[in-house]
Amino acid sequence: MTFLSPLRRAWAHRALVAALVRRELAARYRASALGFLWSLLNPLLLLLVYATVFRFVFAPRADVRPYALFLFGGVLAWGFVSSSLLDAIETFRSNGPLLRKTTVAPEVFPAAAVLARLVHLVLALPILGAAIVFAAVRGGVAPGAALAEFPIVLALLALTVFGAALAVSALAVHFGDVRDVVANLLTLAFFVTPVLYPTEAVPERWRWLLRANPFASFFSGVHDTLFHFRPVAWSDWLWMAGTAAAALVVGSAVFERLRDSLAEEA
């Protein structure tokens, strides 16, 4: 099971990963007056922009109203994906001294980068909860038991992101252009992933293209659990599990291939 060894090593050093995550969060908010509220402010701001633009400039489809609520979960989850990967790209550069001078297992760094962003996401969930309650009181939506499936969707998404983070973090040590490639791919992916729109908005004959996007099923899952409150389709579960497994296999393979050189190059 070599494809699991980075995951296993990160788990073996979980106390260290947790400490790195705490350090990351503490260092980020140390000198700021608003502290961790910043991690809420950014998605809220985005949400406001999207909700306004799409409410008044383009009329949203009937099946995604209230649109702000529809957007919320997807924007949060996308923020987690993109910032995790961008942080992972920087992680070996910023932790270079640690890597070169101590005997640490290098996978703890991408793991900590992803987990720190996951913590941001989880910290924003109470606001999402409040928004759901608000919408329910106003009578727009009826929350259901499918909400309980969201943590599973999130866990599979986190594993996928960790797999991708392993690959990009190790590659970024060798190639300066990884950052630009990934940043541009993320911008592109944002629009070809059902974040701003539901899968149903895509014409039937182009759906297969959406299917080819590994992230699509996760965002269907996010919308199902957090907006439609309906159970996630089995096909989506399979896609998610398959994507997570594939990401871990490929990410671990790339990482294992390059791990010897990390301490030399970072």
């Binding site: 001078k101 101590t102 990884v178 190059e265």
Partner: protein, 409 residues
Amino acid sequence: MSGAEPAIVVAGATKIYRRYARQAHGTLKSALLSRRVSRRGEGGVVALDAVSFTVAPGESLGVIGSNGSGKSTLLKLLANIMRPTRGSVAVRGRLAALLELGAGFHPEISGRDNIEITGLLLGLTKKEIAARFDDVVRFAGVEEFLDAPVKTYSSGMAVRLGFAIAAHSDPDVLLVDEVLAVGDEAFAHRALERFSEFERAGKTLVFVSHDLGLVAQRCRRAIWLDHGRLAADGPAGEVVARYRERVAAEEGERRSAVAGLGGRIGSGVASIEVVRLLDREGRPTARLRSGEAATVEMVVRAPEALSDFVFGVQISTVAGAIVFGTNTALEGFRAERFAGDARVAIEIPALDLAPGVYALDAAVHARGGAPYDYRRDALRFEVTAERAGTGVWSPARRWSFSGGVRWKD
């Protein structure tokens, strides 16, 4: 730990830095074009070449060698930061590496949090860290600054804290790389004490240093790396002496190649033609044993007759500290006349210098100090000794004990 199993086994360890390590900012394009990423070529820098040795538990091993000889690479292999290209490196027991003290510190977070992270990096559990916390803080002397971010620490404080954490991590094997070069005297003293405690506790110590005296003093055994190869392995005093001999020889070659260029000032009214160090048989030498007789001899020439002249010599360490200097004026000789060639010799019945490399200046000058010919660093010589000690003086000595004290053979 059983005495039979070695603590460290290095077998044929070879480390080749692959060539793409040379270019820091490679691009995907160039890699795709040259397909270099997927190729494990032999083209590279050989940092370590088939090095083998074992270290027994409780042994302290010094590692010496010039810059670029592979010492740091060896330590990184031992610390499992890198893996050997060929061969194997095995370390038994918990290992702590003092490679760059405080390297893991994050400047923005507090000393307290940094202690925890560094402890975890060294493989301690949270419980173990909590148990050692107060000792670490006391050793480092950072009590008042625990909750301040590490960026507010002086560099000395950060180094002390880094050392304190590693030193309290209770390792079976401790790797030390030049850490004593950074702290102040008091810190170096405490650090050395801590090493002695390790030794008494039967821990294994690998000690890399440019301070040869310290290696000879601290370690029973030493290895000498030369261009990635194991050049010598044996008792520390012997290995250090052989290394010094080589350095002195290379230095001599280098010096003779640039003879005349090395610091020589003066009016030229008189000139020093030859400076030599003679052993007790009167043969020129660059290497002496401490306590032996030695003679500094110079041949000086004055084309025109002089009535104001002083001959002087001065011995310094290569680091520049003056060990001894004298001249004919200081010693009460009153100049009358000097013309043509003259041989000037100073006999020293016992050259009681500590082991090391020394530089000798020779001069002929006017009484007021104006140099006729002043040759700085005119020659270098090496002093060897079987007995270690600190400082530059190594007098003949004898210990005696009486009463309730006994020594092992």
